[in-house]
Symmetry: C2
């Protein structure tokens, strides 16, 4: 009976919307008007003898609108109920809100059976909420994360526009493995003759005339576009079939990647720092924002060699690390975190890694045998962004690729970029989900992504 | 020898950038200054006895900057050469440009052997350029398309922000086929034991614990997010393993999808029209823009039933169509194009299709046996966007899904959205590549996408 209580016939529903147009709660809070209609969800309700109060949220703002109701109106309401409410907007007599809606007219759009509703006060642990990704945006915490993501995206667009970057859409399906790590997902056309549950076991797909993979980075394609457009960027999904089931890894994640004609690694680091601070300024109320915005000083920049010195000294004195530290080895996650959390107590750039640790495309400083590259390390997260100047000399690039045993034919198009009007250029990639996790001080990446994809987890 | 002619040692290169900072040509044209340094590509060069002229482009603007050079400087230059040029910026004496750069100092960054360079005046057909996607952004036509795409994306972001829509990132890898058309790509982890060339033939991947597909639409996930955030949108890659090798199909394409709490199909159509006109206003110099912006009148809206009447009358009179027209059948591409090109001579909305032609999630008007949905048809392209109100009643939705023989367990999460605080809601999807093809009057979708993916084509 309940689910039919306030459903409408087609006619009613068609005329309902015309009776009074709903206003976003955000608008009402920003510029109050004398009367209003809102369509929203009840986040909580307090029923007293003569009056009831409901906290209404329509997603437009993290601030709820308090509604003042009669006990009769409130009978049908509990957490999760969706309603359309009309009334007068008055200065609130209580604390915690500037205005409140004194409801004259109320329509229940959708009931919510509180006995069955999984979003309960008693269990809102992140681990529990991860099991109901389709419902967890209804919690204030998660909705705040999604609104922060929105603001960061918007600010990235406006900031990079100001810097003359063009937004581009490189391909998601590729035929190359940019990072050469071999952790790519394969894309194929399901064989029509096999049932769905054994998809993947059919003959090799030949849809593209060659194997298709999901992109691990858009960099190589961005380089092609930068060779014509000068400055390009994208915010795009990237993929790793990495069997690392940690709080810092996802199989599908969004990366902000930019590529430009440039010849200075220091300039690239400036760009990354300024971009991040610009984005943070759009969400000044996040846990980490105040500290970042209060500090006008440039984030520290040290060479890889210096980082190793610091880590070796720390290890000699305090045996801090479980993995070994030595020149020529990659920094492990614990080393990266120590540099940011303990040594710098701020984001820190580590640059000029040994060339042999880095992919073929990075520009080398021959004398030092280092690559002109950097990683940006931040507290709690470790690597947040990485970038480099790219090898723009055809001869040098070919030599490096031959040394690495790569198939030059497969990269003929990439070599062409150095063959015809090559320029010094470079770029960076910034893990967008990691950025959000860092700024919101969220421990697990799965808790900043609406529908996380990771090892053995693609529910919904 | 040539390729080494003007390469720099590490030291030179590191100091080069500091000598003089390049300014984007767009900036110079917008607000001229007395002297400037630009880094750009030579688009063409005219060498005379005492003076030479080069058209320089750095991607920031479709307008070139004319450089005035000495014959000595010009010796090293031809189409495709990349340079850094410094000099004074003076009012141009010639026609076609307001300012020109009188070059004092010139560095060749990268030569371009014109004998080998594939971008030649003699063959710039779209079909030829499609074979060199990594170089074709260097043509003025294609770079213009990419700049138009950028402007449309930027305007979508600002316009939808004004409308209180939040930008979200739904998943690309899904476990469901939203449209039920079965043309999904399968995602799997390549078997480590098989060589790369037979990827796909290994055992079924169990990376996600269930089959993984590439999303054909983000709608179902957007619905979950709209049920908390009210208004959400995304611009995301979507995929179809459709073996239609036509000029209007791609295996990978970007879709702008939006979902909101709303109860009026007419309102949804308003939203789509206003969004498109807002985007067009950001690129007023495209072939179609002037006509669209000059017309303040609302685009025509007709029911499917009326569309069939018109098509039948046309067919009876002139035998225009090769496919049959009858009530209850889907409109074919030629029918859609005729409605927009011949009947309306403008974009046209066709709404209220027979429910049985449309997917399970669309709201039905029981009395008329129609779905509350629309397609937006435009000249030359046909379907550009489609949208509907969604069935928000749990009982009705379940019944429809059972009738369609769907697995309700797999969609339990989707049904939950109607179980807990359901609201009337709806949304639309707009083919972003088709929009660009339409506005730029480009015949083949492959020619508006940087690296198109289609049947047997994923070069680069």
């Amino acid at each position: 009976m309940r689910s039919g209580l306030s459903r409408f016939c087609d006619h009613c529903r068609r005329t309902l919307g015309r009776r009074s147009k709903s206003t976003a709660i955000k608008r009402l809070l920003d510029s109050p008007q004398s009367s209003a209609t809102v369509t929203a969800w009840v986040r909580s309700v307090r029923k007293q003898k003569r009056v009831a109060f409901a906290e209404l949220n329509d997603g437009s703002s993290s601030t709820n609108l308090q509604a003042v109701l009669t006990p009769e109106h409130a009978v049908q309401l509990n957490t999760g109920t969706s309603i359309t409410a009309s009334g007068s907007l008055v200065r609130s007599q209580g604390t915690g809100q500037s205005v409140e809606l004194q409801v004259d007219d109320l329509i229940v759009l959708g009931h919510c059976d509180l006995d069955e509703y999984p979003i309960q006060k008693k269990d809102t642990s992140m681990a529990f909420l991860r099991k109901i990704p389709h419902l967890r945006p209804r919690t204030a915490t998660f909705a705040d994360v999604l609104r922060a993501r929105h603001r960061l995206v918007q600010r990235a667009h406006t900031f990079l526009e100001e810097q003359d970057y063009l937004h581009v859409h490189p391909p998601v399906i590729t035929s190359s493995d940019c990072e050469g790590a071999g952790q790519v997902f394969s894309v194929s056309e399901p064989s029509k003759s096999t049932p769905t549950d054994v998809i993947g076991s059919g003959p090799p797909s030949n849809f593209f005339g060659r194997p298709g993979f999901l992109s691990v980075s858009t960099q190589l394609h961005l380089e092609a576009l930068a060779a014509s457009l000068g400055r390009v960027w994208t915010l795009a999904p990237t993929f790793r079939a990495e069997r690392s089931d940690t709080s810092r890894h996802l199989a599908e994640f969004w990366m902000l990647e930019a590529e430009s004609v440039c010849d200075s690694l220091q300039g690239l680091m400036d760009d990354v720092e300024q971009l991040i601070l610009a984005m943070v300024s759009a969400v000044p109320d996040l846990p980490l924002s105040p500290a970042l915005l209060a500090k006008p000083a440039r984030w520290p920049r040290i060479t890889y060699a210096r980082a190793i010195e610091l880590l070796v000294a720390e290890q000699d004195q305090k045996q801090t690390f479980s993995t070994s530290v030595k020149f020529g080895s990659d920094l492990s996650s614990e080393h990266e975190k120590w540099l940011a959390e303990v040594h710098a107590r701020s984001p820190i750039f580590v640059h000029d890694y040994p060339a042999e640790l880095k992919p073929f495309y990075m520009k080398r400083l021959e004398a030092a045998q280092t690559a002109e590259c950097f990683d940006l390390l931040v507290p709690h997260i470790g690597e947040l962004a990485g970038g480099s100047l790219r090898e723009d000399d055809l001869g040098r690039l070919q030599l490096r690729m031959e040394q690495d045993g790569m198939n030059l034919d497969a990269y003929a198009w990439y070599l062409d970029l150095r063959r015809y009007g090559s320029t010094p250029h470079g770029g960076f990639g910034l893990g967008f989900d990691r950025l959000i996790a860092w700024l919101t001080d969220t421990a697990n990446l799965r808790d900043v992504v609406a529908f996380p994809r990771s090892l053995e987890a693609s529910r919904c």
